[in-house]
Symmetry: C2
Subunit: 134 residues, 2 copies
């Protein structure tokens, strides 16, 4: 593996923040974390693999829902401590709520209220039961 990975500045937990942008809509659809193993697996398969901090384990994005993220481009920031993934989103759904992306809570800066304009494309119950049906 090349030395750009060796030069990454991991945080104190050995993790790297990852911003995920859809290559077609250009929307920022997700934010997640990677450790070195998940980054190497992501590169090997050209599919996003994250480190789940809540479950404390590798998380192949899409392994339950089928909504894999195919990696088209990778950029590292000026400080070598944040990654930007440009992806093609299978199923068109990045968020576990069944929406295109996770940033659907828009702050109305006049009223200070949250507005949700993004539609639920697929019922999450349906999305995550799929695997068990097989």
């Amino acid at each position: 593996m090349s030395n750009w990975i060796d030069n990454i500045v991991w945080d104190e937990d050995g993790l790297l923040p990852v911003i995920v942008q859809d290559s077609i809509s250009k929307r920022v659809v997700m934010f997640a974390w990677m450790n070195r193993i998940s980054l190497e697996q992501s590169l090997a398969h050209k599919k996003a693999v994250y480190w789940s901090r809540s479950r404390n384990k590798l998380w192949v994005k899409g392994e339950e829902s089928g909504n894999y993220q195919l990696i088209e481009d990778i950029h590292l920031d000026c400080d070598y401590d944040v990654l930007l993934l440009t992806i093609r989103q299978e199923g068109g759904i990045s968020c576990h709520t069944g929406r295109e992306g996770c940033f659907f809570n828009r702050i109305n800066m006049h009223t200070n209220e949250i507005e949700i304009n993004d539609k639920v494309i697929r019922d999450p119950n349906d999305m995550y039961e799929k695997k068990n049906d097989k």
Copy 2:
């Protein structure tokens, strides 16, 4: 201040990751952190104010370079623990290296080498000396 801020899930250091996207180019230009005070100041002035973890103090983006970030839109993610700012970038430069954004290190997935295609728009030495000249 409305209760959406009260519902934010801050990390153990009282911080929130913030993704910054340019409203015109749609590029992700920066990644930074906010604490509650910096968020409230950002909302009050509609200009991005971050928490600098390296300097351990409030950081009015642009206070030295003049490259303020005018906030056009704010989105909170599904878990209420990540913010997406859509901004208009004064001076067209978000990165301290003098480039449009910080994610200029493109990984060539064939060669595993880093390629830098983003031009330096303005010499950082010139950019940060400006204030002292006044």
